[in-house]
């Protein structure tokens, strides 16, 4: 009886949506944390030498891959 109720409450589509949300959300936090230090270091180096803008930008967005993986997983789930 209880199992039947649980199955009725937990709709598979809803669970998928939660999973997709978690995948994007958590990886977003992860890449944010990673980018925080790299970004501030890049700005620091750029303040002294403007030519480092390009390199700094590329290094800053490297952890962005984490959230892209999250997005891919989310798309695959839903």
């Amino acid at each position: 009886m209880a199992v039947e109720t649980a199955a009725a409450v937990m709709d598979p589509a809803g669970l998928k949506a939660i999973g997709a949300g978690l995948a994007v959300g958590l990886t977003g936090i992860g890449s944010g944390l990673a980018e925080k230090d790299i970004g501030s270091a890049a700005v620091g180096a750029m303040a002294e030498n403007e030519a480092l803008f390009g390199k700094g930008l590329i290094l800053t967005v490297i952890p962005e891959t984490i959230v892209i993986f999250g997005l891919v997983v989310a798309l695959l789930i839903s």
């Binding site: 501030s40 270091a41 620091g44 180096a45």
Partner: protein, 359 residues
């Protein structure tokens, strides 16, 4: 975030010790970029071959441009470069304090307090031998917590009593009040000792690896200072028992007891004793009982200091050590430039100037 940090600071019991987040990533990256702008070692031989005017122009095109331009209204020739170098050093180090936050800021300003002490010592020395305000200001580097305006006000005071009265609210007041116009060396020693004591209190009991490295860095500094003092005392045969006060406690590879044991020895015996220490390996090729001057040893020790600092800075890139390494390298660059310019001005030969440089 800033507001939160300020609130936290306001609530903390130790007001002088900020607990906020330190921006290590930003500061170290910026400092590394600043370090890349220092003069490469190939520049020095070129500078030695130049005349003073050429050096002034060369220096004026580098990082010192702004300072040379600003000061060109007041000074010329050697004095101009000397003042520009001092001003640049002060501006650079004050910048380090202003770009850092939290605990990092606290540690840097504690370390740079040596310039406050240096300035107070310079002013007292100036007053002691009756130097003019301009002469005193020539040697002032306002890189610490005391601003240039305040320091120049101090330098303009007519007597040492007025200087001490103006510093009555500072942390040095307790030491300075014992100055009676004659015991300058005792006061200088006590100021230096207070600096290291404060620095050790600031580091506290080092637990993390980068803190341990910083503590090691400071203790190596003490070793070098003690060694130079010992070499000078022994070479010029000073055996006054009062000189024991000159030794600083807290060395890394040379403990206080070892240094104390070396104090009463003659120069030859001191060298024999030094052979048992780990510094002998680095010093052996320029030390001997018949050495004429201490320039080689002092240059060697300074080089060793720079080398250790550079190797430390690669161990923990996100810590205070790369910043300390930069401070040392910058000081060294300014010193080298000063040696070249002053040497040229008094007509020293190129060889003599070269032997004084720490490259």
């Amino acid at each position: 975030m800033r507001l939160l940090q300020r609130l936290k600071r306001g609530m903390s019991t130790q007001k002088s010790r900020p607990q906020g987040n330190s921006n290590y990533a930003y500061t170290t990256a910026r400092v590394r970029a600043m370090k890349s702008k220092l003069l490469p070692k190939e520049t020095y031989p070129r500078l030695i071959n130049m005349q003073i005017d050429e050096i002034t122009r060369f220096v004026g095109e580098l990082e010192y441009k702004e300072d040379v331009d600003y000061l060109a209204r007041f000074y010329e020739g050697v004095d101009l470069i000397e003042h520009a170098l001092n001003r640049n050093l002060a501006v650079t180090f004050t910048k380090l304090i202003s770009i850092s936050e939290g605990e990092l800021n606290f540690l840097i300003s504690e370390y740079l307090k040596k310039y406050d002490i240096w300035n107070i010592k310079t002013i007292l020395r100036g007053k002691y031998c009756g130097a003019s305000t301009d002469e005193i200001l020539e040697a002032v580097v306002a890189a610490g917590r005391l601003t240039y305006t305040f320091t120049s006000e101090l330098a303009a005071k007519p007597t040492y009593e007025d200087v001490i009265a103006s510093l009555s609210t500072s942390e040095y007041a307790s030491i300075l009040k014992d100055y009676d116009g004659t015991n300058l060396s005792v006061i200088e020693n006590r100021l230096d000792k207070k600096y290291y004591q404060d620095l050790f209190t600031a580091i506290g009991d080092p637990k993390s690896k980068d803190r341990k490295l910083f503590s090691k860095f400071i203790r190596t500094d003490i070793d070098m200072k003690n060694l130079i003092t010992l070499f000078r005392l022994k070479k010029y045969k000073v055996n006054d028992p009062e000189t024991a006060d000159l030794i600083l406690d807290g060395g890394l590879r040379l403990k206080y007891k070892e240094v104390e044991k070396m104090m009463p020895l003659a120069f030859e015996d001191f060298l024999t004793e030094l052979e048992n220490t780990s510094y002998w390996e680095e010093l052996s090729d320029c030390c001997g009982p018949n050495m004429d001057s201490l320039t080689d040893v002092e240059t060697k020790l300074k080089k060793l200091r720079l080398k250790t600092a550079a190797s430390f800075s690669h161990v923990y890139p996100l810590s205070i050590v790369p910043i300390m390494d930069y401070i040392l390298s910058k000081e060294n660059e300014v010193n080298n430039l000063r040696i070249i310019i002053r040497g040229k001005a008094v007509g020293l030969s190129d060889e003599e100037i070269k032997s004084q440089l720490v490259i």
